[in-house]
């Protein structure tokens, strides 16, 4: 864009940017649910390790919570060099203000601010990261899908105070404008550079049980102000089922199903598959056919399963952005002109009430056949 094409400044206007080249490490803020490390944290450790190695810095982590068991050890196995642990009863459940306090105190206690601080784009990360960024008046890039570090020469005439060559700049890449564009967001003149990353995108390291690391306790000093909000009750209603972002197969229903009963078929079809989950388009969530937690798309979740079966979904851009990265997309829709047939891999034009029961029937027959083959094969 224009930023990069502006002519080079005369040397006397170039300010000293060495103050913006901190020696700090790469920090990952861990997320866990009552002692169970979230997959996004392992993914962040994978991405953070690459960034830290590139700069020859350490990969450090902070875990906040209470009675967190072997999480610090596990994080070392997945790539962390040093894990800071803030253990306090008041941190048992995630709450914005106490976690904010601990993280702010911790960042201020470090001899050098982290070069880069990473959190997951989860309900927790998106709640906490903006507050930390605002506190330190630093930049925060939301929902990244790629991260890299490298030199960046800023030449913009609009703000001469920022002109200069930044040796280690975080390249945070995120989808924008309904995912039709990839935007490269930079901000090397404020530290720490911060980003949240979308779950399911970064690749975790293979755990190494021989890897050595340091575990350090950090103090927790909460103030009265920090406990203004009280958690009355926490219900993990979906913890028994499989989460959309982790499912291999998603069967999703849309307005084309006609009635709420259509979801019974969707559920039956999903039940044919291992590690499957139910998805939905916004319209049927708005109609109350299925809870919001199942919504996929711009205003819902982003998923990338191995197999996505869209039943009666028209394929509006808002839905497409949430599921277009699925490995195989199968679409069933009565309307041959439905937008979904423009980006699905396989399509059937037909009535869901005929196609889905037939599919369930044939899959069950297939399963029997496969089992017979398996048995015969062993003889």
């Amino acid at each position: 864009m224009s930023e990069e094409n502006t002519p080079q400044q005369t040397p006397e206007t170039v300010p000293d940017v060495s103050q913006f080249c901190p020696k700090g490490d790469v920090l990952v803020v861990a997320e866990h649910i009552l002692g169970e490390l979230q997959p996004v944290t392992l993914e962040l450790l994978g991405a953070g390790r690459i960034l830290a190695d590139k700069m020859e810095r350490k990969l450090i982590c902070i875990v906040m919570g209470h009675e967190i068991g072997d999480i610090p050890q596990k994080m070392i196995e997945y790539g962390a060099d040093k894990v800071y642990v803030a253990d306090h009863e008041a941190l048992k459940n995630y709450r914005t203000l106490p976690y904010r306090r601990v993280l702010v105190d911790f960042l201020e206690s470090l001899p050098e601010p982290p070069h880069t601080t990473l959190l997951g784009s989860t309900t927790t990360g998106r709640d906490l990261a903006p507050r930390i960024a605002a506190h330190f008046d630093t930049g925060l890039t939301a929902d990244c899908t790629e991260l890299d570090i490298g030199p960046y020469e800023h030449k913009s005439k609009v703000d001469p105070t920022k002109i200069g060559l930044y040796p280690n700049c975080l390249y945070a890449i995120r989808p924008s404008f309904g995912e039709s564009l990839k935007a490269r967001i930079l901000g090397p003149w404020k530290n720490p550079q911060m980003a949240t990353t979308r779950p399911g995108v970064m690749i975790p390291n293979k755990p190494d049980s021989n890897k050595k690391g340091e575990i350090v306790k950090v103090p927790v000093n909460l103030k009265e102000d920090d406990t203004r909000l009280v958690v009355e009750e926490t219900i993990r209603e979906m913890s028994k089922g499989i989460k959309l972002t982790e499912a291999d197969v998603i069967v999703a229903g849309g307005y084309g199903l006609g009635t709420v009963e259509g979801f019974e078929l969707v559920k039956k079809l999903a039940a044919c598959f291992e590690n499957s989950a139910i998805g939905a388009s916004r319209k049927v969530v708005d109609l109350g056919w299925i809870p919001y937690q199942h919504q996929i798309g711009q205003t819902g979740k982003t998923v990338r399963p191995k197999l996505y079966i869209a039943c009666g979904i028209s394929g509006a851009i808002q839905h497409r952005v949430g599921m277009s990265k699925s490995n195989i997309i199968i679409a069933i829709n009565k309307d041959p002109d439905a937008a979904i047939f423009k980006f699905a891999h396989h399509g059937i034009v037909g009535d869901c009430y005929q196609i889905i029961p037939e599919m369930i029937k044939q899959l069950q027959e297939n399963k029997v056949k496969r089992e017979v083959e398996a048995v015969v094969g062993t003889h």
Binding site: H135, D137, R184
Partner: protein, 277 residues
């Protein structure tokens, strides 16, 4: 004086469902694009109006954007909002979330005393979900993000919010900032009376100014260095178009559902994922 001072933040965004104003490279020409109230803000607006209806008080809508954004404040007025502020200033151009939250913070202080600030969960043009929490940090407020149910009991806010794989019930005193999830109740239709009243107002610009005030950075005493591109610690350095997907869909035709399904099972390998046992 009874009831609560309720603020709601609203934003005008380009309608991505419309082709108008989309440049060939996929970026949005905001001057030409069809404009709309950010869909997420409809839930925030509903929460604000519902709170007013249930517990009394006044609703103030606050927006930041170019002059046409006054349209969404008019829309909010039609729905029953009492007054609106539009922060409009060329020096706000290229604001990132931090600079936006700072400008909104100064606007909120200018707009007066408040008990609750409702925000949409995120916008459909930025998708960051950051401005609400950043504003809460500036104002030193507790925040309830991903809120899907909201009530006030004995002067305390009771809310239900979405968390990873579940829900949480929380309570807090006021003032508080709440970002509303779209599992909250959808925005009710505007009343005929409300729409008619605003239509009349639109003809009397002087009178309209009593309800919707357009303000700038000088008036609210904002530090210009902290606004717009200058106040933004991040910039969009480059954009790259993501390849168009499409055109490769294999249609499985057949005379009966039986044939079509057979085809699709054969060619997609979906048997791989069947439940074992």
């Amino acid at each position: 004086m009874s009831g609560y001072n309720i603020f709601v933040l609203v934003k005008q965004v380009p309608d991505q469902g419309s082709k108008a104003g989309i440049n060939p490279d996929g970026t949005i020409d905001r001057a030409k694009a069809k404009r709309m109230l950010n869909p997420f803000d409809r839930y925030a607006l509903q929460a604000a109006l519902h709170t007013k209806k249930s517990y009394g008080g006044t609703v103030t809508a606050i927006s930041m954007g170019p002059p046409p954004a006054v349209e969404i404040l008019m829309e909010a007025l039609e729905h029953g909002v009492d007054r609106g502020f539009l922060l409009s200033d060329r020096r706000l151009a290229a604001s990132d979330t931090l600079a936006t939250a700072y400008a909104l913070y100064k606007t909120v202080l200018y707009a007066g005393k408040f008990d609750i600030i409702f925000c949409g969960l995120q916008t459909t043009d930025g998708d960051t979900a950051q401005v609400g929490p950043q504003l809460a940090e500036r104002l030193n407020l507790p925040q309830i993000t991903y809120c899907e149910d909201f009530a006030i009991e004995n002067g305390r806010v009771q809310a239900r919010r979405i968390i990873e794989g579940g829900i949480q019930r929380v309570s807090t005193g006021m003032p508080v900032l709440v970002t509303v999830a779209n599992s909250y109740h959808p925005l009710e239709y505007k009343s005929f009376r409300g729409a008619w009243r605003v239509q009349q107002l639109a003809r009397r610009q002087e009178e309209l100014k009593q309800y919707i005030q357009t303000i700038d950075l000088d008036l609210i005493g904002a530090d210009v260095e902290r606004c717009g591109l200058k106040g933004s610690p991040t910039i969009v350095a480059a954009t790259e178009k993501v390849g168009e997907i499409g055109g490769s869909c294999t249609m499985h035709e057949g005379h009966s559902p039986d044939e079509m399904v057979k085809e699709i099972i054969k060619s997609t390998g979906i048997r791989e994922y069947l439940v074992a046992k």
